[in-house]
Amino acid sequence: MYLGIDIGSTSTKAALIDGKANLVAQKVVNIGTGTNGLELVLAELLHEAGLTMEDVVYTVATGYGRLLCDVADKQITEISCHAKGVSYLVSGTGTIIDIGGQDSKVIRLDPLGRVANFAMNEKCAAGTGRFLEVMGRVLGCKLDELSDLAGASTREIQISSVCTVFAESEVISQLSMGTRREDVAKGALVSIAKRVAGLCKRVGVEPKVVMTGGVALNKNMVEAMSRELKEDVQAAPYTQAVGAIGAALFAMEAAEKKENNNG
């Protein structure tokens, strides 16, 4: 068995694959680096698979917490792991959009599924999951309710500030002027989509476009992204665990390489 672990800023993910690259199990817990998320996710994962750590031959860690993960044999960045995971799950992917808690990234793949170029949001929280969290707080709803709320929007409003702090006060003043929550929620999604579309243009968009990360569970977000890019955008299967799955695939390759070198 090969284990992939993805320790992000707000969640921890793990995946197991067998020697034939079949996905055996994957798990997500919604607490990130610096917590006991890793223990929790591993316990759940192994329990579901009916296995123990003894069965694991090789482990690769990714995500911002990867360098502090001592159960791992190797660390690989989330950029390479997302590319690997998505190529495995959705063949023919050209572009990956990953909106994470702290940062967003766009990865362009070459025809062999390798990273050709990537860009990440720099400097601030605009265009990240953090922005949505703040919006959710102002609107008094959970992150996963934001999508449905936006789905009920009848009028598109513009949130013009890119800065999360400014956008927050902009939204508060919209609400106090009587703008419906649904329309504000939609505005927030469109605002992120616009920011991320800017990143996409920097690396160049190649179809198929696949979204990963927790934010991709929000189907109105995926739609907003698609509209901004004027391209079909789909959410990856196991969208939150894509990085962990990629890491597990790298674990398998690394173990095979090691074996070849030894034998």
Partner: protein, 409 residues
């Protein structure tokens, strides 16, 4: 001669840095005038006039590297300078007010000498100094070159300003400008620049005998000592050491081997110099070049004033996008680069503005991978170690894929 054998260029560099600042402080103490000047200005005029000169950009970098920048930055911001201003400017404007730095003191200026061939920020920065300190400013206005080659009118404009500045310096010092000495200084400056360029060119050898972060250190002296005999000796010495290392097949470090060769685009992150260096070295990445070797390759024939004007007008930062693209593509080939690290420097709008487009074009032309990271040359607040590390590791993964593909044919 005996001393010369024992002295390494690094020792000599440290001696010269100390001598440079002590000399300027001493001049001030003796009542001689002191000049503050921008980094790529026609220093030949100041050297000819024998004027003690310090370079605020160098000084700010030194303060930044010794982790002392924030005090000055906060002072400048407190006076109303936006945090979007260049942090060299903020450190220096703060220093002009506080006038004391643990890292390094410099004497206050009596004359300002500013050349806008590096950016427009320096114009307002020096104007503000001039107004606040009530001292004269000699300004070389060097408009951006929108055409590929530096146009003839720009060269004539620069030449005119050099001639005019000579008169201004005569008025300021109440001394005649010595044209014979000027010729000697020109000759020496060119020779020093030639050694600087030749030294940094040794990094073309694989493995490179030069650790590029050392270049950042030597750079301080090509800014302020290219017109004198000490500077000339230093760069020749450094060159000879690198030549010997290259011929012995020695790489950049004793403790690790060079595995990847990259270019660093932009200024160093002085407050995080060791963090940024170590993260590269950990993966065997050697920064073998940047755009700086050419920035101080200021070359022209002795006594050719138009040639000198052209050399200063031709600074890389002042050239158009097509020129920049060709320049970087050439570096990729000449230095056998595996990748590029772009420092998106919050301070330097001029350098950042072109960065994404250069990255896109260079990638298309050469196929080598690159990453952009956020930082700042002296403001310690604009850098995240984890973000940097992730980008560098991702670059390694891309470079490794390329190597693997090449191995497989």
């Amino acid at each position: 001669m005996d001393d010369d054998k024992k002295l390494t260029s690094k020792d000599f560099l440290n001696q010269l840095v100390a001598k440079h600042y002590e000399g300027a402080l001493q001049a001030k103490a003796e009542g001689k005038p002191v000049v503050w000047a921008t980094s790529i200005c026609p220093q030949e005029l100041l050297e000819t006039m024998d004027l003690a000169t310090v370079y605020p950009e160098n000084h700010a970098a030194a303060i930044g590297a010794r982790k002392g920048a924030l005090e000055f930055i906060e002072n400048a911001e407190g006076k109303g300078y936006s945090s979007d201003n260049c942090s060299y400017a903020r450190v220096n404007l703060g220093y002009a007010d506080i006038q004391k730095a643990e890292a390094q003191d410099i004497p206050m200026p009596d004359l300002l000498f500013c050349c806008s061939n590096i950016c427009n920020t320096v114009i307002k920065w020096y104007e503000n100094l001039s107004k606040t300190l009530q001292i004269p400013l000699i300004l070389f206005d060097m408009p951006f070159n929108h055409t590929y080659e530096v146009p003839e009118h720009s060269i004539r404009y620069m030449r005119g300003q050099i001639e005019y500045a000579i008169g201004q310096l005569e008025d300021f010092t109440k001394r005649k400008f010595d044209y014979d000495k000027f010729g000697e200084v020109m000759e020496l400056s060119n020779a020093t620049c030639e050694w600087w360029k030749k030294a940094t060119d040794w990094a073309k050898v694989i493995p490179s005998p030069l650790n590029g972060f050392d270049m950042f250190n030597y750079m301080a002296m090509i800014v302020c000592m290219r017109g004198n005999a000490d500077g000339h000796r230093l760069f020749k010495m450094w060159h000879d050491e690198l030549e010997a290392k290259a011929k012995a097949g020695l790489g950049p470090w004793n403790s690790a081997e060079e595995q990847y060769r990259v270019m660093w685009d932009g200024i160093a992150c002085w407050p995080h110099l060791s963090t940024t260096f170590k993260a590269l070295k950990k993966y065997g990445i050697n920064m073998v070049t940047s755009t700086y070797p050419d920035s101080w390759n200021v070359r022209y024939e002795k006594n050719d004033l138009s040639g000198m004007a052209k050399a200063y007008a031709s600074n890389y930062a002042n050239r158009n996008l097509d020129y920049d693209e060709d320049n970087v593509v050439r570096l990729v080939k000449d230095f056998s680069l595996d990748g590029i690290v772009y420092h998106s420097n919050r301070s330097c709008k001029l350098m950042d503005f072109r960065q994404y487009e250069i990255q896109r074009r260079v990638e298309a032309a050469t196929g080598i991978p690159s990453v952009v990271f956020d930082g700042d040359q002296t403001d310690p607040r604009a850098f995240s170690e984890a973000q940097y590390e992730t980008r560098i590791q991702a670059l390694v993964e891309m470079m490794e894929e390329n190597k693997e593909a090449r191995r497989k044919g």
